[in-house]
């Protein structure tokens, strides 16, 4: 119960402030003057609680944010052309790729321009690999499957986090036949378009993202399959589509302003295992996420679900998880069949 005091204050003030504003306006409209002072007092109290609890939540729990790099843009304008190898292709267009590459020696984002010939089906990844093969081999990109399932090629195209292998060039071209590419600034950057995932992986591990059974030997020896219906599966299925691409953390405004926040990916996986009827960790799972930098850091901006390429809906998962945590800390043990 103690852990939940701050979220209880935060959320009740978020409900109380509009409630009292509404009552004040209604009393004002109907000229019920005897209500003004009491409601104004309640409003004052709830505003104060609102300021203090949300202020602590947002601005104080950022301890440990060290060495934030301030970037200034420094342009290295190199316009290099890339020969097209599109044999038999009818309609090619020349597009200028404005690639902001992170220079790890200068610790700056540098703008490099490359001209590439693309056709109707060329993806951003294919075009960048063409640049790498024929124009500038020093361009570092992370890629593997080319079909949007491995999650390696996350980057920002025109400021929006996307998977490069799934992003069509011609559908995303801006005026002047230009397209902007940059690394995901919502993750620590290593070089060019490559970001570091260590932080991301450790946040994932912190929610115990695996199926726990009380009888570990039985889990390993697997004599009979667990009894689970299609209905049970549909409770957690979309949340299990997560490919760990990191686009949701790049999109999340909370992660970008407070890197201590666990992030939508880890929390959605926490919910995925909680909602799986085969998992037997129960209440302990809710305890893991019941912290200001875990589930309570989420402000339901919803940018993560928009960015997710697989439709995992982490924002939805986190709100459902918040409800479960609150229910558990107020009502008691999570029931066995959830």
């Amino acid at each position: 119960m103690k852990k939940s005091i701050l979220p209880i204050l935060t959320y009740s003030s978020i409900i109380a402030v509009p409630l009292f504003l509404f009552i004040y306006a209604i009393s004002y409209i109907f000229a019920a003057a005897y209500m003004y002072v009491p409601i104004q007092a309640l409003l004052g109290i709830s505003l104060a609680i609102f300021c203090i609890s949300n202020g602590i939540e947002l601005f104080v729990y950022k301890t440990g944010t060290k060495n934030v790099l301030r970037l200034s843009r420094h342009e290295v304008d190199q316009t290099k052309s890339t020969i097209s190898h599109l044999v038999g292709s009818k309609s090619t267009k020349t597009i200028t790729f404005n690639v902001k590459r992170f220079n790890n020696k200068e610790k700056q984002l540098e703008l490099h321009k490359y001209k590439v010939q693309v056709d109707k089906f060329t993806s951003v990844l294919t075009a960048l690999l063409k640049v790498k093969s024929h124009s500038d081999s020093t361009l570092s990109i992370r890629c593997s499957c080319n079909m949007g399932i491995c999650g390696s090629c996350g980057m920002e195209v025109n400021g929006k986090p996307v998977l490069a292998c799934e992003t069509n060039v011609l559908k995303n071209v801006k005026e002047g036949d230009e397209i902007e590419i940059s690394p995901m600034t919502g993750h620590p950057m290593v070089k060019d378009l490559v970001t570091d995932f260590d932080d991301f992986f450790s946040k994932h591990i912190s929610v115990a993202p695996y199926l726990e059974r009380k009888n570990k030997e039985e889990q390993y020896n697997a004599k009979e399959i667990y009894n689970q219906s299609n209905d049970d599966i549909s409770k957690f299925l979309p949340y299990s589509y997560c490919i760990m691409c990191g686009l949701c953390l790049d999109a999340c405004p909370v992660v970008n302003t407070n890197p201590q926040f666990a992030g939508p990916q880890a929390l959605s996986q926490g919910y995925r295992y909680y909602a799986d009827s085969r998992d037997q960790m129960g209440e302990a799972r809710l305890e893991l996420v019941n912290a200001p930098e875990m589930v309570w850091g989420c402000e339901f901006a919803g940018a993560c679900s928009d960015a997710c390429p697989k439709g995992v809906d982490p924002a939805g998962a986190i709100q459902l998880l918040k409800f479960e945590v609150m229910k558990n800390s107020l009502v008691g043990n999570a029931p066995d069949n959830k």
């Binding site: 109707k120 593997s144 290593v190 199926l211």
Partner: protein
């Protein structure tokens, strides 16, 4: 250079590698130190792209299915080149793997009465492929990676590229790796090793595989003097999306899809009248190419590629959303076509490497064409060749193979390591080797020749596509061999543009291209020598199977820089070779 010491080093983090780690850790009760070395992040291995399913006889009595039938289907599918004792191990072990994965959290599709659903697949008499939507490989990888995180004794080395195996007197001592993110060289010493790096289909230009499927483990073993087996058998998956080559799963045909030519006919009736679209993959790929060559194919406007059509429009839309959602998303995102309403353009593309590192039934790497087996090195998954798939693999048998041999090699390595008085790695020998290897890699970084290594890669891939494809002929293969030799010479005079330590993908690509070139030469050599058509090796000049002279495995070894071929017998137990008709 950092030196790190482990008991077991697993190279590769796909299904085989991760399951080997879990089994080794559980059997040893967490006592042995395991390192998983992978050149990507561990959960991004190419195994995630597997779509169709995992085959296993789960409900034999209910379905009128049996282990014997699964084994027969596999052996007939392999065109009688599979080792039959190994196939029996595969079919016996597969059902347990399905249950094991279910216990790790995989959401297998279920029937109305909560049993695991199984669907029809190519070459299988009875439906026995368990599936999780059409992202089976992805779900298996998530469950395995998440389970690996439970163990404290497993260290994962993300983005570490292994450049060399350290072998001394037929013993594995460890491997030399490069941390891609920092450029730091790390020597990993281990008392046992498992190679599970996957296949080498990136030797071809049109391929369903990831950019990372460059056969590094196979090439490392080859250069270390270990034998490779059956490399000339490369499976071409019949339905890859035009123009990108992305895989459209066999399950699309399993759920009832039709293959149509330009006349709108289901042309498979002429090639496999009883199985139609569910014949084994080599037969369908050849059928598609034959139709295209006879002028009954269509041409894709943008890319100029010839193709046929995969028609799913007559299927229930809800069924597609339930069992084939990912291919629907891919078609819409790539081509703007919805499979519910329009047929999709497909053609064969390089997909799977039936061949690999020569191993015995326990997954132990053999030190020569007929053994003896190495004491402390195993191989599992696509990069190993036991051989269970022979000359052609049936769909959904690969996930079974990776899981079963992941378990066998993991338990084998753990049992070996728990014995008393096993000899340890030779540290001084390894250090000396590592110093030489570091100089070699730094030397490659300095290369300032005149050839672009990416151009060499593209030429190699085009040559392989043209001459070592679904149909092969003597003139084409000889041309390929000559061109590959020219490319090897050119490769000695390349430039490496990126001279930095940090995240040098240029250097990593150059090392991969070297591996691909070596492997493509082995593929060509084996194909030229095999004077028959069997499974996925289709020789135009000799379209018949020759059991009398050629029912044997091709073994290729690196002797003084040259490829030397020899042959090994196929193990036959119960099933005598017959004509392969569907």
């Amino acid at each position: 250079m950092e030196t790190l010491k482990y008991d077991l080093i697993i190279l590769g983090s796909g299904l085989a590698g991760l399951s080997a780690a879990i089994h080794a850790s559980t059997i040893s009760k967490g006592k042995i130190k395991i390192a998983i070395v992978t050149k990507l992040h561990a959960m991004r291995s190419h195994s995630v792209s597997a779509e169709g399913g995992l085959s296993g006889v789960l409900y034999g009595k209910d379905n009128k299915d049996s282990l014997t039938l699964h084994a027969y289907d596999t052996i007939k599918g392999s065109d009688y080149l599979a080792d039959q004792d190994a196939v029996e191990v595969l079919v016996n072990g597969a059902p347990q793997e399905i249950k094991f994965y279910e216990h790790l959290g995989v959401p297998w599709n279920r029937t109305e009465d909560n049993k695991i659903s199984q669907r029809p697949f190519g070459g299988m008499t009875i439906p026995r492929t368990a599936f999780a939507a059409d992202k089976t490989g992805f779900f298996l990888m998530r469950a395995l990676y998440d389970t690996v995180l439970k163990s404290e004794n497993i260290d994962i080395f993300h983005e570490h590229y292994a450049t060399s195996l350290i072998m001394d007197k037929n013993r594995f001592n460890g491997m030399f790796t490069m941390d891609i993110a920092s450029g730091e060289k790390k020597l990993l010493l281990g008392n046992a090793g498992i190679i599970a790096t996957g296949g080498a289909a990136r030797t071809y230009k049109l391929t369903t595989t990831a950019y990372s499927s460059t056969g590094d483990g196979i090439a490392l073993a080859y250069r270390a003097g270990l034998p490779l087996k059956n490399m000339e058998f490369v499976q071409f998956h019949p339905t890859s999306l035009v123009p990108t080559g992305v895989l459209i799963t066999e399950a699309a045909r399993g759920e009832g899809g039709y293959l149509l030519n330009s006349k709108g006919e289901r042309f498979m009736s002429a090639y496999a009248p009883s199985k139609m679209e569910l014949a084994p993959r080599d037969i369908i790929s050849r059928a598609i190419i034959t139709e295209i060559e006879a002028g009954r194919g269509l041409v894709h406007e943008e890319s100029g590629m010839s193709h046929v059509l995969l028609d799913l429009t007559h299927l229930d839309h809800k069924k597609i959303s339930e069992k084939l959602p990912m291919i629907k998303e891919i078609c819409i995102k790539t081509l703007g076509l919805d499979p519910d309403n329009d047929p999709i353009p497909v053609r064969p593309a390089a997909h799977f490497t039936m061949g690999g590192i020569h191993s015995n039934i326990n997954g132990q790497v053999m030190s020569g064409p007929s053994g003896p087996a190495m004491a402390n090195l195993w191989t599992a998954g696509e990069c190993g060749c036991v051989s269970v798939h022979g000359a052609n693999r049936l769909g959904s048998n690969s996930l079974s193979q990776c899981s079963v041999w992941g378990r066998i090699t993991g338990i084998g390595a753990a049992t070996y390591l728990m014995k008393k008085d096993i000899s340890k790695y030779d540290e001084s020998f390894s250090m000396k080797f590592a110093q030489g290897e570091e100089e070699r890699i730094n030397g490659i970084l300095e290369f300032d020749g005149k050839n672009n290594p990416y151009d060499i890669r593209e030429s190699m891939q085009e040559t392989m596509d043209l001459n070592m494809g679904v149909y092969r002929d003597r003139i084409g293969m000889a041309k390929a061999k000559k061109e590959l030799q020219v490319l090897q010479e050119k490769f000695k005079d390349i430039y490496v543009e990126d001279k930095n330590d940090v995240y040098n993908t240029n250097l990593r690509d150059v090392l991969e291209i070297g591996n691909l070139l070596d492997l493509s030469q082995v593929i060509a050599e084996g194909a030229i020598a095999r004077n028959e058509s069997r499974g996925s090796h289709a020789l135009r000049e000799n379209p018949k199977r020759d059991d009398k002279n050629w029912m044997k495995h091709t073994i290729a070894m690196n002797i003084n820089g040259k490829i030397q071929l020899s042959y090994a017998n196929v193990k036959v137990t119960k099933w005598q070779p017959e004509e392969r008709k569907y």
